[in-house]
């Protein structure tokens, strides 16, 4: 079992593939079912964001270790327009498109660690981690 990988996310089919890849990695990492589900759901949200708002990007995944505990880290990167107001983007219900506005804020609640790095013209990078 490899401990890292990446795949492109350009189409909605890729979002499905990203979910499956995240699931496989989560299982291999030893995450329990509910944690797997939360992580894969978050991955689905972020992957879709990359396609819909970011013009396509990629998902990088990596097994991480912190002392004796193991976890899975997923990073979603796109070269899209970036997020102008991060505070606003992280509010429940706020959406710049037709979504429910839960992608970013919801994902944050589903994982143990959440990093968001984005600015207009600089694309977007979101990294989420779930510990086993």
């Amino acid at each position: 079992m490899s401990s890292a990988g990446e795949l492109p996310i350009r189409t909605e089919q890729d979002v499905v593939l990203a979910r499956q890849a995240a699931r496989q990695a989560a299982v291999a990492c030893g995450l329990r079912l509910v944690d797997q589900t939360k992580l894969v759901t978050a991955a689905s949200e972020l992957a879709r964001n990359a396609v819909v708002y970011g013009g396509g990007g990629a998902m990088h995944w990596r097994v991480v270790e912190d002392g004796m505990r193991r976890g899975l880290r997923l990073e979603f990167v796109d070269q899209g327009p970036g997020i102008a107001d991060i505070e606003q983007a992280l509010t429940d219900g706020w959406t710049s498109g037709a979504g429910m506005g839960l992608g970013l804020s919801g994902s944050r609640r589903l994982v143990d660690a959440f990093e968001l790095d984005s600015a207009p013209g600089r694309g977007t990078r979101v990294a989420i981690t779930k510990w086993a």
Binding site: E12, V34, T37, R48
Partner: protein
């Protein structure tokens, strides 16, 4: 084009989702259902999701949309068979499925739709 089959059981339409749907498939289902409700004058729609490991906000929105569409055509919507892990995740995600009734399985779902809608046989 692949589509999700819609089964007619009396005046209730039953949809069993068994694949990991990509967004377009979900949208096609929405359209198909709207059309079938109209064509059959269905009074209820049951969406069976016991095979779904993941329900994200997109699917959540699809369900809410189907429910709204059905309501406009005087039909009630029910979601059945939700897995525990999915339920826990949806709560954490903050997804609210207002206007959608839920039941543990198809049998109970049918009962639920009959009880609620006057005139549903």
């Amino acid at each position: 084009m692949e589509r999700i089959p819609i089964l007619q059981m009396g005046d209730v339409l039953l949809v069993t989702i068994q694949v990991d749907m990509h967004d377009q498939l979900a949208l096609t289902l929405q359209d198909d259902l709207a059309e079938r409700i109209r064509a059959t004058s269905a009074r209820g729609v049951l969406i069976e999701i016991s095979a779904l490991d993941i329900v994200d906000s997109f699917i959540g929105r699809m369900i809410a949309t189907i429910s709204a569409l059905a309501a406009v055509m005087d039909a009630r919507t029910g979601v059945v068979g939700m897995q525990p892990a999915v339920a826990i995740t949806l709560v954490e995600l903050g997804l609210n499925l207002t206007g959608v009734s839920t039941a543990l399985d198809v049998e109970r779902g049918m009962r639920l739709l009959r009880q609620a809608g006057a005139g549903v046989e």
